[in-house]
């Protein structure tokens, strides 16, 4: 399966990027280019776990990144070499390519809170 979804970003809100990369002064003067989250979900066939992971991911993105995300699902059974290139060991694995840095989140994404922490969409604590 290969699902690709793109949504137009509504309002930019990313604390990490703001705090790390953009000084306040410039931020006020510069109009933001809406940032698209590029998410890649690696699965191995349509296992219950991968279906669950995909469902969880989509729900989460809808809730937090509405219109600002792109999910690409990679089935490693079809493209096994992709596992090597992306250093995939555990599945399902979600790789956040953008915004930087690249992060990997493993598991079926059922623990929403941890996914949000992993995606740095929610501050710890």
């Amino acid at each position: 399966m290969a699902i690709t979804k793109t949504r137009t970003p509504a309002r930019r809100r990313n604390p990490v990027v703001e705090s790390l990369k953009l000084p306040r002064v410039r931020r006020a003067s510069k109009p933001k280019k809406p940032e698209v989250w590029k998410l890649r979900l690696f699965v191995a066939g349509q296992t219950p776990k991968s279906i669950r992971a995909f469902a969880n991911l989509r729900a989460l993105c809808e809730a937090h990144l509405e219109g600002r995300y792109r999910i690409e699902v990679v089935d490693l059974l079809e493209n096994p070499q992709m596992a090597r290139g992306n250093q995939i060991v555990a599945l399902p694995a979600l790789i956040v390519n953008l915004p930087k840095p690249v992060r990997q989140i493993i598991g079926d994404l059922s623990n929403t809170e941890r996914v949000l922490v992993g995606l740095a969409l929610q501050e710890v604590g």
Binding site: T47, G107, G118
Partner: protein
């Protein structure tokens, strides 16, 4: 996900084994690792796990046409390639030839967050893909336990690793799984040994007296007999070599050919023919008793016969030996140049005893000598314990004997200790034992030699003094004095005394001869005189005898004439008689 590749089912008839190609390991395991099953190789940091696993793959790919997959969890591919190059393995080449597939699995914990149930299908897929790419029969997972540090939820991980091993087995892949062992009571850090039930090999790296020794032990090998000892092993530029201590039996041939010792009179002491070919000779003695000189003679004689000699010098450099031998008239230089004699000098301290043994083996295997000299073997004691040296020498002697190589070991005896006790530990391995000793008497130190034992031949029981002259080692005649064998000046004065005594004896004999002559002459003179005297007397006596005879005859004649003339006047005659009687009364 389950890989659906058809797995070759492990044969039910007996346990099949996959040769590792690692020198010695196949002997210890009785033919290699269990084919199609996982083997756990566990050991501490730097014990050589990765090297063993790597060699297993490389040898498999090169020698047994079994391509392999190396999944590295710790080292990156460039690092791995570099390390393998130090063992003489060109991984890049094997990868290019599609005989080997390297994969570096790296999970950085800081980049990973766990958000629910996961499995290791990613790893399964990677392995399956790699296996399929090169048609691998062998797989190495080095060190899979690293995942415990990278991935959360050990419970899931353990279950997944267990599933992985099962899957590898199901696919019939001969797998080596390495594991770190940091506690002596556990084989692996996370207890994964319980998933590997077929074969477990433990590697150990010990430092004793600043010298490291690597050891290998087959802890478990289900369904197969295996050596249970700890076997020392080495990693060098040719890979790993395990030295099975007791795998060699005592079934070497015993040739009855004899070879010269290089010293003529020493040959005579050994029933006139010298050593047995293929025997082991121990040459022991205190410092400066001429051990190396005896060895030098032996080597030179062997080279002269056109035999190849390998000389392991643990104390002197080859040049030094050649120079020193030159001073006693043994010229080794030409043989070195001819390639018949090869020196191999090394300080045993540079490596552990096993390494020394291995180097020895290797050189013997490549040079194929007929004669080997180890000078001095006691230097090995500086790097190891007596037990280890003994076991090493046993192996070396066995090895040399099976190869039919005549070997001479020199042994330095410490002064003060008993001459015969120190080497007693190895002497039982030796066929011939020559003891060199310094005899100190009369303010001198002289060298003497005797044959302490020599199996299978008659040998001299004498202690013989010898000199190191500029034309070689000279065994001298035996002089026995009241204190035992006379040596040096004592011998010389004894020789002098014997010479003087001989002269006197000779003179006495001559004198007696002359006296006899004289006596004979006197006797003969007397004889002549006596005879003359006798002859004179005889003549006189004869004369008187003949005179009296003559007289008798004349008287008889006269009486007859008177009777006739007197007309037998017998009465008158009678009357005369009676008258005389009557007068007397």
């Amino acid at each position: 996900m389950t890989p659906r590749t058809k797995a070759p089912q492990a044969s039910s008839k007996g346990l099949q084994k996959a040769l590792t190609g690692i020198q010695g390991l196949d002997e210890v395991t009785g033919g290699g690792l269990p084919r199609g099953r996982p083997t756990l190789v566990s050991g501490g940091a730097g014990s050589g796990k990765t090297m063993l696993a790597l060699e297993f793959l490389v040898r498999g790919a090169k020698q047994y046409d079994e391509p392999g997959v190396f999944i590295s969890f710790e080292e990156t591919i460039p690092d791995l390639t570099r390390n393998a190059a130090s063992l003489g393995f060109d991984l890049t080449r094997l990868v290019a030839d599609k005989k080997l597939f390297l994969d570096y699995v790296h999970v950085s914990r800081s980049e990973v967050a766990e958000t629910g149930a996961y499995d290791l299908d990613g790893l399964f897929i990677r392995i399956a893909d790699a296996v399929q790419r090169v048609g691998a029969r062998r797989v190495v997972l080095d060190t899979i336990e690293a995942l415990f540090g990278d991935l959360p939820n050990p419970g899931i991980l353990r279950a997944e690793i267990r599933r992985l091993f099962g899957w590898l087995k199901e696919k019939g892949l001969t797998t080596v799984i390495t594991a770190e062992r940091d506690r002596p009571d556990m084989l692996t850090r996370h207890g994964i040994e319980e998933f590997v039930s077929d074969c477990v090999i433990v590697l150990d790296h010990r430092i004793r007296e600043e010298i490291s020794t690597r050891r290998l032990r087959v802890v478990k090998y289900r369904g197969s007999t295996h050596g249970t000892n700890e076997y020392p092993f080495l990693i060098d530029e040719n890979g790993i070599s395990v030295l099975p201590i007791s795998s060699l039996g005592l079934d070497h041939a015993a040739p009855s050919l004899r070879i010269s010792t290089g010293i003529e009179r020493l040959d005579v002491m050994l029933s006139g023919k010298g050593f047995f070919r293929g025997s082991s000779i121990l040459l022991s003695g205190t410092a400066g008793t001429g051990k190396t000189s005896v060895a030098g003679h032996f080597v030179e004689a062997a080279c002269r016969r056109g035999e190849r000699c390998l000389y392991f010098a643990f104390e002197e450099s080859p040049k030094q030996i050649v120079r020193n031998m030159n001073s006693i008239g043994v010229d080794l230089e030409p043989w070195v140049r001819k390639g018949l004699l090869r020196f191999h000098a090394l300080r045993p301290t540079y490596a552990g005893i096993e390494e020394v043994l291995l180097v020895t083996h290797k050189h013997i295997a490549t040079f194929k000598p007929e004669v080997v000299v180890v000078d001095p073997m006691t230097n090995l004691l500086t790097v190891s314990t007596l037990n280890e040296v003994r076991s090493m020498l046993t192996r070396l002697v066995d090895f040399l004997k099976t190869q039919g190589i005549t070997a001479m070991f020199t042994s330095l005896t410490l002064p003060g200790g008993s001459l015969e006790a120190n080497e007693a530990d190895v002497s039982s391995l030796m066929d011939t034992w020559l003891l060199l000793k310094a005899i100190e008497v009369g303010g001198e130190r002289n060298r003497a030699l005797y044959v302490l034992k020599s199996r299978g031949m008659e040998h001299s029981n004498q202690i013989r003094e010898f000199l190191l002259t500029d034309h070689g080692l000279q065994l001298l005649d035996v002089y026995l004095g009241p204190e035992g064998v006379l040596t040096g000046s004592a011998r010389m004065s004894q020789e002098g005394r014997e010479r003087a005594a001989g002269t006197i004896r000779r003179q006495q004999t001559e004198g007696r001869g002359r006296e006899l002559d004289r006596k004979r002459q006197i006797f003969e003179a007397r004889m002549t005189a006596l005879r003359a005297e006798f002859e004179v007397e005889e003549e006189v006596i004869q004369q008187s005898i003949s005179d009296s005879k003559l007289l008798d005859e004349e008287l008889l004649q006269d009486r007859g004439q008177m009777v006739r003339s007197r007309e037998a006047d017998v009465s008158a005659y009678k009357k005369n008689g009676n008258t005389a009687r009557g007068r007397k009364r």
